[in-house]
Symmetry: C2
Subunit: 347 residues, 2 copies
C-alpha cells in the first residue's frame, strides 16, 4: 500500500484547518458554509478551494450541538419486511427530502424492547421528530417523549383524544367496500376471514363488513366469521380447509380476508384442491400488496394510499416542528376497492 498523501492525515480537517490554508478566519469559513452571500466572491472561492483540497466534511455533531437542532427525522416502523410499511416509509422520505431533512429508518420488528431502544437513541440524537407505527399505541414511553419535547406522529394506529397527530385509513369503510362489492356480485353467503381480534384493524374491517351486510338486509348468520391466529399465508390455507369442511348449504360462495396474505393462502388452497376462483369461491383481500396482482388469479383487494399516509404524516410532523400554533390533527384516509379476476372472472 502506498503511503496516503497529505490529504489523508490522521484527523479529518476542521473549519480551523480550512481557515488556515485559505488564510482567513474561522468565522469566515463558517459564513461560506451558512451565509455565502455575505462573503466576497474572491474569498469564497479561496475557501471553497481549501475545503476541496483538504477534503473537509462538516461535523454534524458539532453543528447540532451548537445550533441545538438536528437535520433529521426518524420513522420507527413495525415491520420492515411488510411492503405496507416500506411504502409508508417511502412517502415519509419524499416529504423529508423536499424539506431538506434526512430520514432515519428504524425497525422495531414488532418487539417492544427494540422499539424502546430505538426511541431512546433517537431522543439522545435529538431528532426533530419521530413518525412511528408503534407496537402498542398506549406505550407510556411515547408520552414521555412528547413531554420532553420530541414531536410524534402516529401512522396506521391511533389513540383516543391524544396529544399528538395521527394518520390512518378508515378500516370500517374498507370492510364495507369489500362486502358491498361481493353483495353486488350476487353473493348471499360470505365468510370474513380475520386475524386475531386483538388487532384493531381486524376488528374494524370486520365491523365494516357486518354493517354492509346488515344494510343490505341480509341475515347475520349468513356472514360467517373465521378467526385466524395470525394474518399469514399459512393461516389462509388453514381457513380454506375449514371452509371446505362446512356443509354445502352453509358453505360461503365468497370470502373477504383481513389482509392479502390470508387471501393468497386461501386462494392457493382453493385452487390446489381443484376448485376454481371465483367460480367456486370469490375472494377479496386487503392491502393490495404487489403480489396481489401477480397471484395465480389476480386478487381483488382494498387498496390503502400507503405512500400518501407517509407523506401526510411527515408533513404534520414538520408543521408541528416549525409552527408554534400547530394543532394536533387526526387524519383519516379513504381506502379504495381494486376489482380483479378473483371476484370478476367468468363463473
Amino acid at each position: 500500500m502506498a503511503i496516503t498523501p497529505a490529504a489523508g492525515s490522521s484527523r479529518s480537517a476542521s473549519v480551523k484547518d480550512v481557515a488556515a490554508t485559505a488564510g482567513v478566519s474561522l468565522g469566515t469559513v463558517s459564513n461560506v458554509l451558512n451565509r455565502p452571500e455575505r462573503v466576497s466572491p474572491a474569498t469564497r472561492e479561496r475557501v471553497e478551494r481549501a475545503m476541496a483540497e483538504l477534503g473537509f466534511v462538516r461535523n454534524e455533531s458539532a453543528r447540532s450541538l451548537r445550533t441545538g437542532s438536528t437535520q433529521s427525522l426518524a420513522y420507527v416502523m413495525l415491520d420492515a419486511g411488510n411492503p405496507f410499511f416500506t411504502d409508508v416509509a417511502r412517502g415519509i422520505e419524499l416529504a423529508a427530502e423536499s424539506a431538506g431533512l434526512s430520514l432515519f429508518l428504524c425497525n422495531s420488528d414488532s418487539r417492544s424492547a427494540r422499539e424502546g431502544a430505538h426511541l431512546a437513541h433517537l431522543q439522545q440524537q435529538r431528532v426533530q421528530g419521530i413518525v412511528i407505527t408503534p407496537v402498542d399505541p398506549d406505550d407510556p414511553q411515547i408520552d414521555q417523549l412528547i413531554e420532553r419535547g420530541t414531536p410524534i406522529v402516529m401512522v396506521d394506529r391511533t389513540r383516543a383524544g391524544s396529544s399528538f397527530c395521527s394518520v390512518a385509513v378508515d378500516d370500517v369503510l374498507g370492510g364495507r367496500l369489500a362486502v358491498e362489492h361481493l353483495i353486488d356480485a350476487g353473493h348471499r353467503r360470505v365468510a370474513y376471514v380475520g386475524g386475531p381480534e386483538s388487532i384493531g384493524q381486524v376488528r374494524d374491517r370486520g365491523e365494516g363488513a357486518r354493517q354492509a351486510w346488515a344494510e343490505a338486509g341480509l341475515p347475520p348468520e349468513d356472514l360467517i366469521t373465521l378467526s385466524c391466529e395470525a394474518p399469514t399465508v399459512a393461516c389462509g390455507r388453514t381457513a380454506g380447509e375449514r371452509l371446505v369442511g362446512l356443509p354445502a348449504r352453509r358453505r360461503p360462495t365468497a370470502a373477504f380476508c383481513a389482509n392479502d396474505l390470508l387471501a393468497l393462502g386461501l386462494l392457493q388452497q382453493t385452487i390446489s384442491s381443484g376448485r376454481t376462483v371465483p367460480g367456486d369461491l370469490a375472494i377479496v383481500g386487503y392491502d393490495d400488496i404487489e403480489f396481489a396482482a401477480a397471484a395465480a388469479v389476480p386478487l381483488t383487494s382494498v387498496r390503502q394510499p400507503r405512500q400518501d399516509l407517509g407523506r401526510r404524516a411527515a408533513e404534520l410532523l414538520l408543521d408541528e416542528v416549525d409552527d408554534p400554533a400547530h394543532e394536533h390533527e387526526q387524519v383519516v384516509f379513504t381506502p379504495e376497492l381494486v376489482a380483479r379476476a378473483s371476484t370478476l372472472g367468468r363463473p
Copy 2:
C-alpha cells in the same frame, strides 16, 4: 391543558443541571454515566435520582463531538421494497444490536443521487462505518469515503481487488444448482429466463446454468436463453407467452428464472393459459422470497442466506472499525436449492 410541571421547562436538562440538583460536580455526573464503578453507591444513587427527576437525556451530539466517534452504523440499501434487502438489513441490525450500536437504514431506491446524498450525510454524521449495496459498485464517492476514513462493506456487489470488504453469494453455483436439479429430473430442453445482461447477478446465474448443462454433456442449443427487460412479474408473463410461441419440438419442458418475480409471472401465465406446472413446464426461481412458497404451485427456488449476508457484513465492518490489523476480505456464501412442487409434483 394543564401547565407543564417543572420538569418540562424550556431547555432540556444537561449534566450541569443534574450536577446542581444532586449537589455534586459535573464530572461526577459524567462518571455515573460512563464509569459508575468509580462513584460511591451513595452519590451514584443521588445522581441517578436527580437524572430521573429532571428527565435527563444524554446529548449524543455533544458526546460524539467530544469522543470523536458515534455509536452507529448505517446500511444504504438499494431497494427497501425488495424483501431480499430487508432481510439483509435484519441481519445487519442483529449484529449491530449485539455490539451495542444502533443502525440507520437508508434507502437509495436505485437512484444514484439519493445514494450520494445519503452517503454525504452519513459522513457528516461520522457514523462508524457503512454497509452498502450500491447502485454502482465503481462509484468514486465510495473510494472518497474510504480515503477519508469511513470503513465500507459492500453487500451483494463486489469490485475486483478492492480496498474494502464485501459479502456476496456465489451466483454461478446457484445457477448450476438450479439446472442440475432440472437435469436430474429428466429435463433435456430447458429455458434460462434472465433479466438484462447488464446485471452481474443475471450473467453469473446464466453462466452457472451453461456450465451445468455442458458438464452433463447436453447440446448447447437445447438450453435456450430468454432475456427480459426487467426482472419483474410482468416480464415473467411475457416470457411465458414467448415460450408457448415456440415450435413444439423446440419448446422447453422446464424453465430456470433469474429471480422469483420472473418465475411467479411465468407460473401465472402458464396456469392461466390452461397448462400445468410442473407437468407441462417445470419452473425454478431464484431468491426464495416469502411468496415463492405461497404461490399457486409452491415454487422451487435457490435460496440465499440473506440474513447471514447482512450479519457477516456487519461483523466485517465492526472488525475493521476496532481491529487495526484488519485485512479486507471478500466473503462468498453458498446458495442452496429448495425443491418444491413446481419441479417435483406428479407430472
